[in-house]
Symmetry: C2
Subunit: 362 residues, 2 copies
């Protein structure tokens, strides 16, 4: 998609071929800057510190991290350790482990001397596939949105999204926002309610930014407000991304997603989850019991970052000195609350049978 | 209750008897400061600008505002205009209109020359009654919490609250927190999850502050996190205040309350609403259709205030320049999601019959 007048991906090979560059998502929306990732350690730090975030994008970043390691030391032990470090950088999104395992599998029969080139190639393929996958999610989601729009009787289609599952969460297009971009391009009149998404404000900082850069009308709301809007008939559908989906269709996504799914269910609003099949964890069934939930630093809750009156980056404290905070980063929305899963292979119910009908995931 | 080593109310007559003083809730938790309200206009501004907030406290502040007007010009027209201005300062909490109407009714047979003294007396009575009302809510709520604590099998009782319905929202004790203070005093081992409560952060700034000052163990969480905690069995009860309750038991309270009520219902967690009977609007039945919801400034969503690294008050911008925000300040929780109403006259189901059993409200 486009931002500030040109086309961007979130991650791309550096001109010298010895590193990748990524958009630094910690300084958006106030500055659009790229940072260079030249080593495995830098890739791990970029994932853990959320320079890059979004399940698909951290998968691709991890793949490039392995490629950078292979350029340094492609030996079996070093590569196995690198895979382990990357997977441990963030525990919840399964795309990270999926991408690492795929790269490792691709390298298994390759002699160490050829691994660097092969890994670089595979990481690039993964990035390109992600773009194609999201474009396909966009096409399938468009059919759904078109149908919803016809029921609006002339008024514009009102969507609500949580966190950022746009192009910034992927290599390009996004998952939840791919259908939105496709719908806008198809001429459907729409508006997006953007959940702020505390504590890191990915909605207010990232989703609002990319929608506005793309010319999509949107309004930021506190995370508390979505239920009220649904009660008032001001939301025609909720569409979100995901970090891990179980074989039975339970959806793990950014903390707070479950609350919006409850409100959607209570008000008869379709709750749509955009899911690349790389996010499906066929080994799990009960999301609530089985998906590991990352606990992030307290400071993300007790403090908040933004731009001060002089235009400088600033971090302020919201709570009394010494206050404790808890910061679970994800929650699980039971399959019963999910109206449809929108995948690159089509739209299915959030059930084991629905997912099986799509064929094998990986 | 106590803070910084001494006893406080949120509002008290100034020593010279020509004004009231209030705790400035805009600068908490970083500074505990009082400001003087000496005119009707200052009372209106303190209510609209949220120097004082909380349904019971804005009622008492409005009563003193009328008394200040009566000292200036106690004529019928001036008093009627003052009543109108005070009621319009914030539209949702019915306690404001209730307090104003009560003062006006008390003055109706009083000759203008005696109105100032009578109004001052009535406002003081209202403040004292609020303290007694909340103490009674505390006693009735304590019975409920004691019962819940016995089911905890030795581990501490875990409560969750949204926004601030503590002593800062009233004259003293609070509504939702009165039972918490009573339970702590009774030796019940408990812990409170405090919803941050965007956009104005009354939970992070006010509830965390007053609980900590009172020595109650608490943890601040993003508004998104409560559902997840309930799914994991980490919440034994939710207890909140309210701004207007209909005759059928629908509860209007701070935006986001409805989402927590849905999660409590979905997980079998008791959802308790502490309600002084001054918050009951017997004229309304369907909260969703009938309660006016205040829309507050966009800037409360697009910006946030706190303390910067140098210890100074600071406001930072969270969104891209030019981003639109919506800021509905309240939502309505349907009676079907409310387990019990805790009033000064006892604990009742959130039904017309339950409320009728308490007798007349005003």
């Amino acid at each position: 998609v486009r931002a500030q007048g040109r086309h961007w991906r979130t991650i791309w090979p550096a001109a010298d071929g010895r590193a990748v560059e990524v958009i630094d998502q910690r300084v958006l929306p106030h500055r659009l800057e790229a940072v260079r990732i030249g080593t495995l350690a830098e890739a791990v730090a970029a994932i853990a510190g959320m320079t890059v975030r979004g399940a698909p994008l951290i998968g691709v970043t991890a793949a490039y991290g392995l490629a950078l390691q292979a350029a340094e030391d492609p030996g079996d032990e070093a590569m196995a350790q690198a895979a382990q470090r990357l997977k441990a950088a963030r525990p919840t999104a399964v795309n990270l482990a999926w991408a690492v395992d795929r790269l490792v599998a691709g390298l298994s029969g390759v002699p160490p001397g050829h691994r660097a080139r092969r890994a670089w190639q595979d990481a690039g393929d993964l990035a390109d596939e992600d773009v194609a996958t999201n474009a396909a999610i966009g096409r399938h989601g468009l059919s759904l949105l078109r149908e919803l729009a016809t029921r609006c009787g002339g008024r514009r289609l009102q969507l609500l999204t949580h966190c950022n599952a746009g192009w910034l969460a992927t290599v390009d297009w996004g998952t939840a926002l791919a259908p939105v971009y496709a719908a806008a391009e198809a001429g459907i009149d729409l508006h997006v309610w953007v959940d702020e998404t505390r504590p890191r404000n990915q909605g207010a900082a990232l989703t609002a930014w990319e929608l506005r850069e793309q010319g999509i009308d949107c309004t930021v709301i506190a995370d508390n407000a979505g239920g009220h809007l649904m009660q008032r008939g001001q939301v025609d559908a909720v569409i979100v991304g995901c970090d891990r989906v179980t074989a039975d269709g339970d959806v793990c996504n950014k903390i707070g997603t479950y609350l919006k799914a409850l409100a959607a269910h209570d008000n008869g609003v379709p709750f749509l989850v955009a899911m690349p099949l790389s996010t499906l964890d066929t080994g799990l069934s009960d999301g609530l019991r089985e998906v590991p939930i990352e606990e992030r630093p307290q400071r993300e809750v007790t403090h908040v970052r933004g731009r001060d009156a002089r235009g400088a980056d600033a971090e302020i404290q919201l709570v009394p000195d010494g206050t404790r905070a808890a910061n679970p980063a994800f929650d699980v929305t039971p399959a019963r609350l999910v109206t449809r899963l929108v995948t690159e292979r089509g739209v299915v119910p959030a059930t084991r049978d629905g997912l099986r009908a799509l064929g094998s995931a990986a």
